[in-house]
Symmetry: C2
Subunit: 219 residues, 2 copies
Amino acid sequence: MTAVAERAPAAAGGAPRRTDRRRERTRRALIGAARRILAEQGTTDVSIQEITDTADVGFGTFYNHFETKAELFEAAVREVLEEYGAALDEACAELTDPAEIYCVGVRMTARLAHLRPAVAQVLVQVGVDYAWAGEGLGARALRDIQRGMAAGRFTLADEKMGLVTTAGCVLAYLQVALEHPDEFGEDDADTMAEMLLRMLGMTARSAQAVAHRPLPDLP
Amino acid sequence: MTAVAERAPAAAGGAPRRTDRRRERTRRALIGAARRILAEQGTTDVSIQEITDTADVGFGTFYNHFETKAELFEAAVREVLEEYGAALDEACAELTDPAEIYCVGVRMTARLAHLRPAVAQVLVQVGVDYAWAGEGLGARALRDIQRGMAAGRFTLADEKMGLVTTAGCVLAYLQVALEHPDEFGEDDADTMAEMLLRMLGMTARSAQAVAHRPLPDLP
């Protein structure tokens, strides 16, 4: 497998060529390796050799696909979070109350610390910058806050402060719950969601009613 | 200046020896250099050579005082935050409402992003772990939350969730406000404090009344 072969473009209008399929397989293997490393080791501080070993591809292959290690890890993280955001949207498809949709997002994302710690680890690593960048889960939270404000469920001076505080609380929760798994459980995730609803301007009574409804199943 | 001279203990019961004073001066110079590097470069990712150059001490001197670079930076960060916590306590000495004392802490800590970005940078770097460790500003926030609960000003299922959410919001605010200084101002810090008071169980009306009172002066 040479760099030249891997860089060959797809035949225009035809079926994907064998080298293109191989190229895509290699890219998938590298992203899969990055996801495994993030999940299992909770770090991006590994050598490119370790990544290509994990992906079971040649060392030199790496640079046919990514210019830097950071670029690979960003692709892996973006993929995980897009999948998760889509799953959340699907789970909430039957719901109509924007406050509940926001709340389910918070409760399920916070639960990642307990149910899927590897994904939670990724979220903590990308951190506030990711939420603020208007992508994936950050964009989803902002959308739900705006809908809640439009529906009169949330009373908020500034939607951007709703995003900052939501992201800050969820990320802080994930971090401490990952580090102290014995001290936090799923009830705490719901308590935090209830607190966030109050923060967004709901009364204590409404917040409590919304934050402990049965959760929809993730697809 | 030799390692042997720097390691010599103080003469028991007597005045500090010249070598002890010199040793303390060197330690202070190293911590001061670390604080400058944190403030000006916003990173701990520098060489020990750069630290000793900044401190104007010999390279070999470093290991007479700290085993690792991380140990030095931790000492520097702890010092900055202790000073700040003490200044906050002094500024709040005249206040009696625990909700207001908590709120002043949030408003002033969030303002660091605007007024003392170098210190804010340090806070963002130590992050949630620091708040959770029960030291400095984290301990202070927990104390204020407990007092607010005892006084019936806060209604909270669990004080630990109050600490996690407070730390998460303040740190997220500092991070985005440092990165996007044109999009955030001191009013946003107060808006966040108001939101946190609602989160801790105060009514919208009470939260608004407390969060925009005149701030005491920091000593």
